[in-house]
Structures are given as C-alpha cells and as structure tokens.
Point group: C2
Chain length 421, copies 2
C-alpha cells in the first residue's frame, strides 16, 4: 500500500467487527479472538472506547443493527468461540462502491476507526473498497480482513481458517462411509463443497490413512478410490470408465466429487445434468443445498456401470451439505489459528498499521507450525486460489504432497478397522 | 416357545455369527461382544470348537464364504468394535423358506450348532424360519437374534442398539445446522432416515437442548421448529402454512423431515413428488441415497413461502444420508449396550436356551439403566414398531416425554451458544 505510510498513530474511536459469507466451525474463534485482543490492547489503552458487532455483516452495519461487545463476559465469549456458524449473523451481500460508501457513512456516524471483517475473498474486497473510500474522504479508519473460508481459496496463504475443520469432517465422513460401502458393496458417490477450488474434496484422501497399518494385512483397499476436482476437466465417459474399472476390480467404488466439477469448456456438470438450478445473489449457480449433481451422477452410473454378470451396479449418492462447514468438532489446529489470525489483525491495528489482510504461512521444517503476516488487501481481494498442479494426480486422484500438506491441519482422525477385505 | 423346552444341554459343535441390513456405528460392538463371550464360555468349556463369521450375512454362509474368528486377537477385535459399519460385511437378502433351507444345509455341513444374527426385523425373521426348519429336521441348532437398527422399530424393546448413535448424530447435526441457519437465515429442510418409524427424525428435537440455559437470555429460538414424522399423515398445504408461520415469526425455519413421510392414504410423499425412484430387493422404494424428497420440498417452499416483502424465501435442503448410521462417534451408552446385548445372547446359548431375540428394557427410576431379556423370535420377527402417540405432539412436533426417553441414550451433546437472536 504505497499510498499510505505503513504505520501511523492509532486514532481514537470505536471498533466494529463483522462476519461474512458461508459460516465455518471456527469463525467464532476469530470473533472472540478479535474482541479479547482489542480489550487487551486498544481498549485498555483507552484508544478504542466501544467494540460493536455487526448483525449479519455489513448489512447490519448500514442499518445500524449493532451489538455492543465491549463488555461481553469472557465466559460467554468462550462458549460462543466453541460454537460453529457466525454468532453475529452472516451476510451474502457483495458491496459495490455505493454500498461501501454507505458502510463508510455508518462507520463515521458511530465514530468507528477500526473495521474488522471476517470472511473470504469477497469480504477482503469489501475491506479494500471501504479502506480506499476512507482514504479518499480523509477519514482515518483502519480496515482489516480476517481470513475465513472452508474452500481454502484465498491467495497468499498456505491455508485458510475454516478449511481444516471442514477437511476434518470430510476425511472422517469418507472413512466411515467407506466402511459402510464395504459392508454393503456398490458404487457410492459423495458430493463435497467447493465451487472452484478442490481442496475440500481432496481432503477426502486423508480417509485412507484412518486404516493404516491394518489395511495391508486385511487386503482392504480404503477409499475414496476416485477423486474429482473442479481443477480437472470432468469427462463423463472417462468418469464411467474409471468407476467401472474400480468396481470390476473391488466389487465396490467410493467416489469423491466436488460440487464444482466442470467440463473442458468450464460449464459446471451440475448445470449440464439438470435444469432449473437457482442462481445466488452473485449470479452463481447454487450448488450447495441441492443434491442434483449427486443424483444425476448416480443415475449415470446406474445406466452404464455393470456387475460381472451384466446387472446394474448398486449405486447411492450423498451430498454432504452444510454439515461440512458447521460440524461442531473442529480441528484443534484450526480453532487455535482462527483465533490467532484475529489476534494478529488486532495487533496490526494496535501497532499502527493502516489496513491489510492476515496471511497464514507454514514454517519450513518437520514439525508443523503456522506463522502470521500482514498482506496488502489488493493482493487477496476477489482473487481465487486453486489446487496447485503438484497436488493433483492424473484425472482422479491427489498426490502424496497434498496429503502431507493437509494432514497436520485436520487434527487426529479416527483409527478404524475391518475384518477381511 | 411352547414347542421347545426352554432349556436343554448345549450341543457340541461350531458357532457362526453374521451381520445383516443397514450397518450402524455400533454393530461391531455386538460382533466383538459375541465372539469374546463365546470364547469366555462355550469355547473355554470345549462345547464350541470354532467360531465362524459369515461374509455378508447369510449370503456368505450359503456360499461357504466364512472367516474363522476363533482366534482373532483381542486387540484387533477391539479396533473393529470401535469401527462403524459391518466388519464382516452385511447383506440385504431377505431369505424365504428355500433360502433358509440352504442356510440350514450350510450350517449342517459345517456342524454349526449356534447361529447368531445381528440385524433388524428381517434378520429376526430369518432366525425364526431357520430355527423352525432346524426343529422340523431334528437338527439341534440354537438361533439367536441380536437386535440392531438405527430405525429403532423393533417391537418388544425400549430401544434398539444402533439407534442411540444415529440419534446422537442427528441431534448434533441439527444443533450445528441450526446455528448455520441463524447465521444466514432462511428455510432449511433436513431429511432424516427412517422409512416407517419416526424415532430418528424425532431425535432432532434434542438439538434444542444444546443451547440451554443461554437461549432465554439471548432470545434465540433453537430448532428444529417443525418435525415431520411418518406416523403423522403429511399434508402439503399444512406443511406450507406451518413453514410460513415460523418463517414470518422468526425470519427463518429449520425443518426435520423423515424420508418416510406419507400422505393420509399411506403413499410416500417422495413417490408423489418425484418419478423414477428405485425399488430395493424387498420391493420398497429407495429413500436413502437419493435426495429427491428434500429437493422437492425445498421447491415447494420456494414457490409458496414468502418474505414479509413478498419475495421468495431462501430455501436449502440437505439429506443427511448414510453418515447418520456410520458416523464414528457413537453414543457411549449405545456402544456398551450393543456389546451387552450380544453377550446376553451368548449367555442364553450357554445356559441352554433354544433360541430367541434379545430385548432391551429400561429399569424404572430416575437414573437410566438398561436391562436385557430373552423374547420369542415370533414376537419380534418382521414386525414394525412406531412412535407411540405419547411421543407425538400435534402435526409437527414431539412431546417432552419423547425427549426424556431419548436424552439418556445419546450421550453428552455439545453445548453451543450464539450472540443475540
């Protein structure tokens, strides 16, 4: 941010915190972390007088629908921190310049000088626009984006708070569902969240590790046997052939499919396979909260994949849905990092930085350790990160490098076993 | 069992154990419990020589696809016991008399004198037929049914192993999803397993208790706000009116719907709302593993439920699917009871009983405690238990009596909180 000197004296005034976008299992750790850190620093020093919470993100802010968080008891905050989904309420609004002007006016009316917004790439873009408008208006307000998204698609970070807990759910679900599939063999398709980035679908691969070291002895080949990411063009014929190959070999096949798989022209398979899909406020086709992709793929398998005796294969599909982002058993690493990322944002504000987003990087070395850094809002805002090529193996798998990347994030997974194959 | 003397000397020979029907999170506790109890009693006394496991239920038995479990290490058995889904493999076969004759022949060929079958009402019927055929043939074989079903629909028992863990998943899911729904308000429909009996759908009501005592203070009204059971005829117009009422009052509405809801003539709503549904081997419409009911109900709400400004309500539907029956965090009560029920069946065999099923009853008193009893196979076989009227409140809720019934079964649920309503 060349236009702004990086550090100036923190202005006196109030602070506001909001949550935006799809909730996660640890987004309230960020909320609690920000509130506690503000109280420990800027409030204690009498620089910040009141801490407001936006009800339903910037939508509540412009309507002056605020909660005073300045004196919320630590115990209540702890209970909220351990609860999934946005405790302040969230919003799907994606503000343009006019909307952001209304945000700035609302902040000015409440003498808000610190703006913290917990969210994904759209939220970082809101921070960026508001920050630029404040600069233009000569209103000294510090805007900080605190990262959050189960999609793990923010650029500049090794990973994003919210993703590890969702990945933990997905890996656990595939491990348990894999045993179910081995009990009553057939083709099982599980549809995983992630419109553009395949990280969450890829996390299903960790399910395979729930069975070591017993798997070699028992001959049990744990799933998922096929993983379809939005980064790899989805070809219907190849999909059928790959399912048939696994099914012929094992008598069953567990498949992980991203809700966002698309063909080589970038058309979502869900759109191609079904009619009448909703579009959300951003004009995107709604892929979560409907199950059409899983059912359509199951139908495709039913019509094309055969048993050795030429019969229809038994096929089932589940769409994991919102439980992926709100299951109340977060990754311990994720809970700690979501909190630490918010604390880092407050520390930036307390040290006099103008604005920014928090990036999580991974320290090199054998033992996993996260580090936090401030990055320019323009380097995050409205950008999307995808699975790198080094994480993708062929047309329907992930690499060992991905598993090594993901493993330390999700926390301990269940150790499961089976008798025989 | 008037035809058979209740107790005679246990015959020498082998034992076989199988698992049948939809798997559960604790069905392997029953397997491990039966094997360990056999080893501690009849094997130790040299009455039983070998313990066989059927691969995929009676299907494996008639094909002589067996695993020798006599000397499986305790540690391996423990790991299996803690793993969901049928470790031996399960089967959807529903044997008729001819099939049961083949079972009997297979038992005779292996000198099997003890037949243990872990399953639901179809499995108890298999036990009954095989037991009667053995009697007719003068072949001394003891047949014991070990109860298992997430549907909780076996007659003669207070509840059935497998149900408490599935109920635990459903209650936890509704609590977390309820916070998600409060974050991004709208109508959220969650479809729960249970074709004929509404116990599992009813268990969603326990989600409301995850928020006490904070809920009064915050004004947060936890869901599910509406619960639709297969026992209560489903009326589409009333459904729309009830959703509209809650939505108008709270700005959101979380709905629990059993996959088996049916109209006043007994026609499943899923069948009415959609075409081309599969039928399973029993001729039943396949309701799990497809998401058509949730999507169709969501569509119904979209077309008929309005915001205060006359706009379409935001509507999402999730079908919880197989994770309900295999999530690897079982209720501790359920895990212990699934094991104890199997041990009780073995104890019956060791004490010389001819055949039977295990019924779990609840001791009267403040503190929850289960008791185990032997009941006649004919009193369980192929019968279905439904939610009693005392558990059903109006058209779309459950009573306090149901919550009191269900609460001690599921184990501790998460304590969650929110800020404001």
């Amino acid at each position: 941010m060349a236009k702004n000197p990086p550090r100036t004296k923190p202005p006196r005034g109030n602070a506001v915190i909001g949550q935006s976008g799809g909730p996660t299992a640890v987004i309230n750790q960020s909320l609690a972390g920000a509130v506690e850190a503000l109280r420990d620093t800027l409030v204690r020093k009498d620089v910040v007088k009141r801490i407001f919470g936006m009800r339903h993100g910037v939508n509540g802010l412009v309507k002056d629908d605020l909660i005073d968080l300045t004196k919320v008891k630590g115990k209540a905050l702890d209970r909220v921190a351990r609860s999934p989904a946005a405790a302040l309420g969230s919003s799907r609004d994606k503000p343009d310049r006019d909307y952001c002007n209304a945000i700035l006016n609302a902040c000015s009316a409440r003498d808000i000088r610190y703006f913290f917004y917990i969210g994904g790439n759209d939220s970082s873009d809101t921070c960026r626009i508001v920050s630029e408008l404040a600069d233009e208006a000569g209103y000294d307000m510090r805007c900080f984006h605190i990262p959050k998204t189960v999609d793990n698609d923010l650029v500049g970070s090794d990973h994003t708070p919210g993703f590890p807990s969702a990945a933990r759910f997905v890996a656990t679900a595939f491990a348990a569902d894999g045993l179910d599939n081995a009990s009553l063999p057939g083709v099982k398709i599980n549809v995983v969240m992630g419109r553009h980035a395949g990280f969450l679908t890829a996390a299903s691969a960790l399910a395979r590790e729930c069975f070591e070291p017993a798997k070699k002895k028992s001959g049990f080949e744990p799933g998922p046997h096929l993983i379809y990411l939005p980064e790899v063009p989805f070809d219907t014929d190849r999909f059928i052939a790959e399912v048939q190959e696994v099914y012929s070999r094992l008598g069953r096949c567990q498949v992980a499919v991203s809700e966002g798989v698309q063909d080589k022209d970038g058309t979502p398979i869900a759109t191609r396979l079904a009619q009448g899909l909703d579009r959300d406020a951003h004009g995107n086709v709604q892929l979560s909260g409907v199950s059409v992709l899983g059912d359509a793929l199951a139908d495709l398998v039913k019509r094309n994949v055969k048993t050795s005796s030429g019969k229809q294969a038994r096929v089932r599909a589940d769409t994991f849905g919102y439980l992926q982002r709100c299951w109340p058993d977060p990754s311990p690493v994720d809970a700690a990092e979501a909190r630490a990322a918010a604390e880092f944002a407050v520390a930036c504000a307390a040290r006099g930085f103008q604005s920014g987003s928090v990036a999580i990087t991974r320290r090199k070395g054998k033992k996993y350790r996260a580090e936090y850094g401030r990055i320019d809002l323009r380097d995050v805002a409205a950008k999307t990160r995808h699975m790198p090529e080094s994480f993708i193996k062929g047309t329907s798998n992930v690499t060992r490098a991905f598993s090594e990347y993901c493993r330390p994030l999700v926390g301990p997974l269940p150790r499961l076993a089976r008798l025989g194959s």
